[in-house]
Symmetry: C2
Subunit: 209 residues, 2 copies
């Protein structure tokens, strides 16, 4: 596998390829050409072939791609077979919603525990996942070494909570707070889900037709 500095644009398209291939596989489709896939996805066949060529050679001339095989390969590139461990920090409405609805397993993650400051929540479970008191964070993280923390804490606690987790060795953050987090520790990755930015983009588009 090559993977010499793959551009951000390519990386952001990978999950979408994965989604489409998963869907095709679910429909029992065995093979697909870049042109057919491109048509379905609304992108060019060239782009698909160019994107894939960043990681290797997955097709066969005259045939195209084996759907299941390519799905597995892209899953591998994305790291879904890594079984990254993950904790949720902040069990408000959103944290709760993710615990109950989000299919962490499909993305290759194992949700190990959730944390909240509220004493009323500590000791309870949601969807079989224990909710622990924030005071137990240090002990738990040092013992279980999760890879990723989901940040669903209030605005005001965002950066300080992130700092605390970075100190404990966590390097991946799925950030749902509206705060832009910073850290000068090496290899820390923030993936932001900025609801407000998304809605404002929609606002722009519907404001002028």
């Amino acid at each position: 596998m090559k993977r010499q500095n793959v551009s951000d644009a390519v990386i952001r398209r990978l999950p979408r390829y994965y989604r489409y291939l998963d869907d095709l596989h679910g429909k029992g489709i065995v093979r697909i050409s870049s042109s057919t896939l491109g048509e379905k996805m609304g992108i060019t066949a060239s782009q698909i072939r160019q994107d894939l060529s960043c990681f290797g050679e997955f097709g066969q001339q005259g045939y195209g791609y084996n759907v299941e095989e390519l799905r597995t390969e892209i899953g591998h590139i994305l790291g879904v077979d890594h079984h990254h461990r993950l904790i949720i920090v902040g069990v408000g409405n959103l944290g709760h919603a993710l615990m109950q609805n989000f299919r962490f397993h499909d993305a290759g993650f194992i949700l190990e525990a959730a944390f909240d400051v509220s004493p009323a929540l500590a000791g309870t479970q949601v969807a079989g996942i224990p909710i622990l008191d924030m005071a137990e964070l240090e002990r738990f993280v040092l013992e279980h070494r999760p890879d990723v923390a989901v940040l669903t804490v209030p605005h005001s606690a965002a950066q300080s909570t992130a700092d605390r987790l970075i100190d404990l060795g966590i390097r991946g953050f799925w950030n749902f707070t509206n705060v832009e987090l910073v850290s000068d520790v090496k290899n820390v990755r923030f993936e932001d889900v900025h609801f407000a930015d998304s809605l404002l983009t929609l606002s722009y588009r519907i404001t002028r037709r």
Copy 2:
């Protein structure tokens, strides 16, 4: 205001400018130059000036930009002063979380009502917003003419619900389902929040350091 085909890349940066300017304004900062703002945001001064020039001239030579004024201008470009009306369709955990936590007003939206199939929810309120039965959707939409629907329905109901709403005249969708929606009706806009794609991107980045 010019605004001749502004690129997607520029549009997606606007909310971030808005956020930073709002923050600076909140801190009482009156003026800022493109270079200072660029430094804060981690982008070039050139890019900021180039982006803004798509919409007009908001600065002053030798001075820079008035923070409050530029914030207002970008808000205007984004349409936050349009007071778009919005409904939530699907009051599961996520819909509920948005109703309670998300500051729709800050993005210039007015949340008018929520809808759910569950008879147990119909007639209740969350955060002062009434939840109505899905059977009331047609009547309500034709009467109140909301601009945007937030789709927080299950996977399986996504496309059919969208179609139903498009029929009723809704053209903007804030889509939280993991489904890629389609419509051949003109001017329909889907803004997707694909949680899974976002998490997979993070997975990619932490898998190889």
